[in-house]
Symmetry: C2
Subunit: 326 residues, 2 copies
């Protein structure tokens, strides 16, 4: 079952999961994270989980124990950031290790996890370590929505909103090509791009800043690629989008490493950058851009126009996605 | 890495995990579950996670999708019960499926999960489904310690306390032998014992009842077998134990299916019954036994006497454990 198969399966399972939720669940499964009401508490609990499996999401050939610990937690923290102004609270980890996994790898895994947890004030409240045929790292995190803030969903985009992204796009997809053996570019650019794949930085601070400047009416992370995120956001909000590919933020390393249109395609469809994709009204968007919090890359349009990418006035064909090991 | 290797590894990792915890963590990793203080809230949050891996913890030959969904949640709820009077709050699930996993299996997995969740008032707040080379089910749950109750740890046993267990012991280990092909006994007994393996019932109601009758000074679940739990409880409390194997609660099916001493050995060392193992002062223990909440099986003694099992006054040699697939 490929990535697209997973999405179809999830679509099949979600309605029953959502129906079964009680009134305590303020945001039901289906967004980046769920939000639980905490009776009598001003702050809601934001919760999410992500699993990383060897040979599917990573190879130990190019992922150290510390990389895996960092990333397994980072992708979860990214889901918290994708819900708005959320303060990390606690995390739990379950790790499946094979008979061939060195003890040092496991120690480094926890070191990478703890280091990122410390930086974000997250308590690691427990870990289960079991045997497995392949390495599996499953992490869950809970955060607290900051007082007075609302969870920002995928359903709030309106025609006329600007589309914005944080950071730069396409780096992690280039990093995957690099760790898989592609040797173009300088060692320095290759190191930067590989690090963007292996050590993504969850955008919690950016999410807090955007909330203060906006707050944005819709928000998610770019885990499966910018275009995929924008598609989900438009489906969730019942709108279309027009993206100016010339304005997509590209790192200097990606520009150097890739040639011409390929950098743009990686930025559009490459996954695992874990940046934020959001919409904001024109005024808030201008503030966000002026303060360097995010870059405007397009505009939300009525649904009937669909999703379009343009480059200097001409339509740009968006690739279907860069899959791992498919 | 076998089960004993896992425990050694955990012992190596735990100190650093515990040191890294902030003051919000009231019970740090190392007990059945961790307990987090929730500033301004009367109820603390009890959290735990467990992972089940194909070919290690189960085989699809004898585990249906519904069995797996039920059990992956049940073993986590059992960890909540092992902390005392805890009300389930929410759960998250991450499921790794192979290209050969039928969609129906996944739907049944969620059905089994939801059914047990509903019975215990637990909200399933999210699920991640990813590709994997083997089936992996990773579940985390959070519960709320009931107002006025303390978490019951493995460290509270004192010499003179009685040792008690809920339900019956050894059934799940017999069930494992049965699903693995051993054909002794009647079909009815085999079905009962297999069900005890495949559909363990988390003892949340029993834990609440014991708290009302006690509360017990120490408590854990019997996931890795009664003797293993008792060993951990004695290590945690700095005490010894004397168990009367003739008083171990055995189901009628186990007595029928196994012959003589084998039933006792399964009850002592067989895992996965997910019953509660606890201690209580003589008065509370008598109340618990009178009301049918638990059975007295021995007594806590000073540490210097170590852990001993006796049968009609003679020492009984406890087997080292019934391992899965080792």
């Amino acid at each position: 079952m490929g990535r697209w198969g997973e999405w179809r399966l999830l679509a099949k399972l979600l309605p029953a999961l959502r129906r079964a939720c009680s009134g305590r669940v303020r945001v039901k499964p289906g967004d980046d994270a769920a939000v639980l009401r905490w009776p009598g508490r001003p702050a809601d609990l934001v919760v999410t989980t992500d699993m990383m499996v060897e040979h599917v999401h990573f190879e130990t050939r190019w992922t150290s124990g510390e990389d895996l610990g960092h990333k397994a937690l980072a992708v979860n923290l990214s889901d918290l950031a994708a819900m708005g102004d959320v303060r990390p609270f606690f995390g739990l980890v379950a790790l499946g290790i094979t008979p061939r996994t060195p003890v040092g790898f496991v120690e480094n895994f926890y070191r990478g996890l703890r280091h990122l947890a410390d930086r974000h004030g997250l308590d690691l409240a427990g870990g289960d370590t079991v045997r497995s045929k392949v390495l599996v790292a499953s992490v869950m995190v809970a955060g607290l929505l900051r007082r007075g803030r609302r969870p920002v969903l995928r359903t709030g985009a309106r025609a006329g909103d600007r589309i914005l992204v944080t950071g730069t796009l396409g780096d992690a997809a280039a990093g995957l090509a690099i760790v898989s053996g592609r040797r173009a570019g300088t060692a320095r650019d290759r190191a930067f791009l590989a690090r963007r794949l292996l050590r993504p930085e969850p955008r919690l601070a950016a999410a807090a800043r955007l909330a203060a400047l906006g707050p944005p009416p819709s928000l998610m992370d770019s885990s499966d690629g910018f275009w995929r995120s924008l598609t989900l956001l438009c489906e969730g909000s019942g709108v279309g989008a027009r993206v100016d590919v010339a304005s997509l933020p590209l790192s200097a390393s990606l520009r150097q490493w890739a040639r011409g249109g390929q950098a743009v395609d990686l930025a559009l469809a490459g996954g695992e950058d874990y940046e934020l994709v959001l919409t904001a009204g024109p005024g808030a968007a201008a503030r966000m851009e002026r303060q360097g919090a995010a870059r405007v890359v397009g505009e939300i349009v009525p649904r009937r126009f669909g999703l379009q990418a343009h480059h200097k006035g001409k339509p740009w064909r968006v690739p279907r996605g860069f899959e791992h090991f498919d």
